[in-house]
């Protein structure tokens, strides 16, 4: 068990892979959340649910590492966007979570709101990680070239989900999610199925969701690629249950479409 500690700024942190991971997903803003389109995709009947295993599609290269900053929101959304792009046929580009965090953290490393990542990724996009690495979390540190690059990597369409069944439906339709979990003393302890321990709370950590699995018990769980490097869980991943999702304050959205990269275009039709 990795015990939670409280930092001087009041935020909590947990040690994973020799680094204290700050838990800095801030409570959702009701008004910002209301501005995100409501669940807007066909609902898949639970009796038609099937497993979606992205662990081989999105392997080690896709596991980001926010290290010691409270930038989980930025990293969760960057992880989701780079997966959505690949599912649309675009090349894999490891995107920067720090870039988005810099736009939405108000100039302080005290965390951010998940809904703000959607707004930022629709307005500004994010650049490749090479142009804005994990430790570049303030706008003053970011070069203009990164801003130009960020225009290539944006979210086109997304919608919010409030329930576990809506989240699973969206994942089954091939979309990628961003949402919250509560990380306490139990979370980092995975059971034999790879399911994270449950901690009660409003949600203090932003994560990405990209797959669905049915356990031997019949329970459906969601696949969670974390942003704490490969040291966490099983090569950076764990599963979470309906209870994990529905016990936190909802600030979850699904990316339905990424914008196309203007530097990697297919040809226009000629006839």
């Amino acid at each position: 068990m990795n015990a939670i500690i409280t930092l001087p700024n009041g935020l909590e942190a947990v040690e994973v892979g020799g680094v204290y991971r700050v838990l800095a997903k801030l409570p959702p803003d009701v008004h910002k959340r209301a501005a995100i389109p409501r669940f807007a995709a066909p609902m898949v009947d639970p009796k038609d649910w099937i497993e979606i295993d992205r662990r081989s599609d999105f392997g080690d290269n896709y596991i980001l590492d926010q290290k010691s900053h409270g930038s989980c929101t930025g990293f969760a959304s960057a992880g989701a966007l780079m997966r959505a792009r690949v599912l649309e046929g675009m090349a894999f580009v490891r995107l920067s979570g720090a870039y988005t965090y810099a736009w939405i953290n108000g100039g302080r490393d005290d965390g951010a709101i998940i809904s703000d990542t959607l707004t930022s990724l629709q307005q500004h996009g994010t650049c490749p990680e090479t142009e804005c690495p994990w430790d570049t979390i303030y706008r003053s540190e970011i070069p203009a070239s990164a801003d130009r690059s960020a225009g290539r990597f944006k979210i086109l369409e997304a919608y919010r989900v409030d329930r576990f069944d809506e989240l699973v439906s969206g994942l089954l339709l091939g979309f990628v999610g961003v949402g919250a979990v509560q990380v306490g003393n139990a979370f980092t302890d995975l059971d034999a199925d790879g399911v994270a321990g449950f901690d009660r709370g409003p949600g203090n950590h932003a994560v990405c969701f990209d797959g669905v699995r049915r356990l031997a018990s019949g329970e459906w769980v969601v696949d969670l690629p974390n942003s704490w490097g490969l040291e966490f869980g099983r090569r950076g991943r764990c599963y979470i249950t309906r209870r994990h999702i529905e016990s936190v304050e909802q600030d979850c959205y699904l990316i339905r479409a990424a914008t196309s990269d203007p530097q990697d275009p297919p040809p226009p039709t000629r006839n």
């Binding site: 995709a41 690949v86 086109l156 091939g174 479409a257 297919p266 039709t269």
Partner: protein, 223 residues
């Protein structure tokens, strides 16, 4: 010559010329040992008002032939008694027929038919395009209406990677869909989700509804 002066032609050539729906000529010829036969070219094309030449070759005691009434026809001299040289004129574009049958020893040959096409010659068909390979697979969809069936096809990432052809999935609202004219081409596919197969130059090789399975996609792409 846009139109033949039939009276002068008749005088000049010293042969009959008739505007008829049916012409018959009978020739009594020496009996030979070979079977009765008649031979015509399969087809002749001529511009309106111009002379077409058709030679009837036959083996037999007798020959009868007839031609569509809308054609004018006269016979030219030929020293070979087994040949009949005909000149025909049509004034209205259309398809006409010259039919002939020979008789020898009381037995008829098969009918021979020559199709006479009067009209502006059709341009030669364009050469077939060189065989083009599918260089891009473009899918245009309304993501808000994506079904589980569509998701099973589009979400099979391993399949698309193995397919070996670049592919893209576009929401219909992506600006590229309009700027690259994918919306117009998708309209020809019969609705969304549409699958467009493009050459590397952007030629649309096929535009169809997205198949229901990845196997069908593979067949369409030709892989």
């Amino acid at each position: 010559m846009s139109r033949l002066d039939r009276g002068r032609a008749t005088w000049f050539l010293g042969h009959i010329m008739k505007r008829i729906s049916s012409l018959s000529l009978t020739f009594l010829l020496a009996t030979t040992a070979s079977a009765q036969s008649v031979k015509l070219p399969d087809a002749v094309a001529v511009a309106p008002g111009r002379l077409a030449a058709v030679t009837v070759e036959y083996d037999g005691d007798d020959l009868r032939w007839r031609v569509s009434s809308d054609l004018d026809v006269f016979r030219e001299f030929d020293p070979d008694p087994r040949k009949i040289r005909l000149r025909l004129i049509g004034y209205a574009p259309g398809r006409y027929e010259l039919t002939a049958v020979a008789c020898k020893g009381g037995k008829l040959s098969d009918f021979a038919v020559c199709v006479i096409t009067v009209g502006v010659p059709a341009p030669p068909p364009p050469p077939p395009p060189p065989s083009q390979k599918v260089a891009w697979v473009i899918v245009v969809e309304e993501t808000a209406e994506r079904t589980p069936q569509t998701a099973r096809v589009l979400g099979d990432l391993a399949f698309w990677v193995r397919l070996g052809v670049p592919w893209r999935v576009y929401d219909k609202d992506d600006p590229v869909v309009k700027s690259n004219h994918y919306d117009v081409t998708a309209g020809r596919a019969g609705g969304l989700p549409a699958m467009l197969l493009l050459s590397d130059a952007g030629d649309v090789l096929k535009a169809i509804k997205l198949p229901a399975t990845t196997d069908e996609v593979r067949k369409e792409v030709g892989r």
